[in-house]
Amino acid sequence: MTKEQIEQVKNNPKYQKLVSERSRFAWTLSIIMLVMYYTFIMIIAFDPSLFGIKMGDGVMTVGIPVGIAIIFISFILAGIYVRRANGEFDDLTREVREELGDIA
């Protein structure tokens, strides 16, 4: 890729849109994952008894649904990303490549 070609790609509005929107989306989801996981870990490190609090009269504690929920949320967030990336972002990528013509 020559310097001019790089400039041409970088100045393409659709490319700029693709990069900024996808980065924002990917980092937002990553931060949600990290915050969720490290909150979980920090509670275990600093106040594990919080997860031992019983829900209702039985033996079920708060920690069990929280733990299972993290597994489900991980999967759901992955699904949300793939849906948008394989649809909207891939369409945008195709448009960028068409506009760039012989560079792509």
Partner: protein
Amino acid sequence: MKKLLLIALPLLLSVAAVASGTIEGEIEKQPLNVSAIIMFLLFVSGTLGITYWAAKRTKTAKDFYTAGGGITGLQNGMAIAGDYMSAASFLGISGLVYMAGYDGLIYSIGFLVGWPVILFLISERLRNLGKYTFADVAAYRLKQAPIRTLAAFGSIATVILYLIAQMVGAGKLIQLLFGLPYELAVVLVGVLMILYVTFGGMLATTWVQIIKAVLLLSGATFMALAVMSHFGFSLEAMFAAAVKVHPAHQAIMAPGKLVSDPVSAISLGIALMFGTAGLPHILMRFFTVADAKEARKSVFYATGFIGYFYILTFIIGFGAIIMVLNNPEYIDHAKAVVNGAAPILGGKNMAAIHLADAVGGSFFLGFISAVAFATILAVVSGLTLAGASAISHDLYANVFNKSGEVDEAKEMRVSKIATVVLGIITIFLGIAFEQQNIAFVVGLAFAIAASANFPVLFLSMFWSKLTTRGAVLGGSLGLATAVMLVILGPIVWVQILGNAEAIFPYKYPALFSVTVAFVGIWFFSITDNSEAAEKERALFEAQDIRSQTGIGAEGASEH
């Protein structure tokens, strides 16, 4: 041989006793677990058939390393799950749940949460930039020889450590389950993995992993359903029964001793999350699919399968508390006399195996034993292929080969030789480590992956100012710190070397070693004023465009 029988007999006797409904203690000789061996032979002949089929389709280097790049997202997701769900995580995590309840869930979650992050930040860039190994990406705009040497070193170290853990686990498991001698088991695993990889390359490895994932998920699903149906599919009823019989009672429903201080907690989290994103055999799987779209799908499916599997192991562990803990068939009476408690036959990792017998009888026990064996084979094959690729593609073709032109046939021959040599080394190490405490080995593999492989790979894709000097020095520092802190830590320094107190007090070094790696890479990059460094920084933009759009990516051309 005598010693082996002594270990294997009690288990087999108990199996026989359950199967025939005889009263406990009656002696019925059953030196070999026949149904397990038959099912295992079926798996082996099936997979060798696949290897024969794959061998005919493996002609080029691209076929060998990436199965031609034609694996679909769903297949690759299944194979990633098959690569990642080791026998250690099946038996180890269900065993941990059996011993400590909730702590097993903490571990599982740590092993899972890295996956979505890999999807969001790494998978498509990796697919767009790479060819055969993750070093292709790390060395994309940096100097080939030093970066590939570091990446290959990190890969081979991770692979060999992981292989040792798998081999020792395989030997012990097979000795216990099948009544075969340890050495024979290790040689058998080694020979089969050499056959799969040398002849069938990535295509055979992928299918072995897919079949294993299907078998493991089906077996675990059956066990979890059997446990749940016992309690009318009420989680509350199951937990209540477990709390009643477990010696720790209500304590198994909350976090216990696994992570007790914040530093260990964060450190374990970093090791599991970043370590997953630095495992060479996992990263390599992203090059087997056609494009970024399929790469994303692979991780989505893999996250689903792995998450589902961990929920199953949690139920299996609780099922084992209820059905194994109070059943004298599964208790090691000889040990109980000495220790007073009720230790489980074959150690805590056998909880899931005993539960298989309790819910499905000896036939299902045979099935689960065969699945555990298949699981090990699938994981070691993926590891060996990754190790061999680091040797042939990174070291041979791009470091030692100064001429520039790479003869593809020669490179493939080197990777096959490397597979055989790695296999033989692994067999010897597996036998040498039989009596060793290998608890630190997988932790060390994850620490190296997180501290050497991951920071270099990550920054090469995200940080324009990265230079060769920064990557090599920072990555090496991370690697050295990880190794040193593991040696000075409680497991090696105290438990293995017999010192009174650990110099480094934490079991998991990742928090420190990953920080050292990132700071090192940053510092030695920004202070690099050489002309070469300027050029490397200038190349970032073109790399970034390719990683964002897939323009020029391997296998992306449809014409």
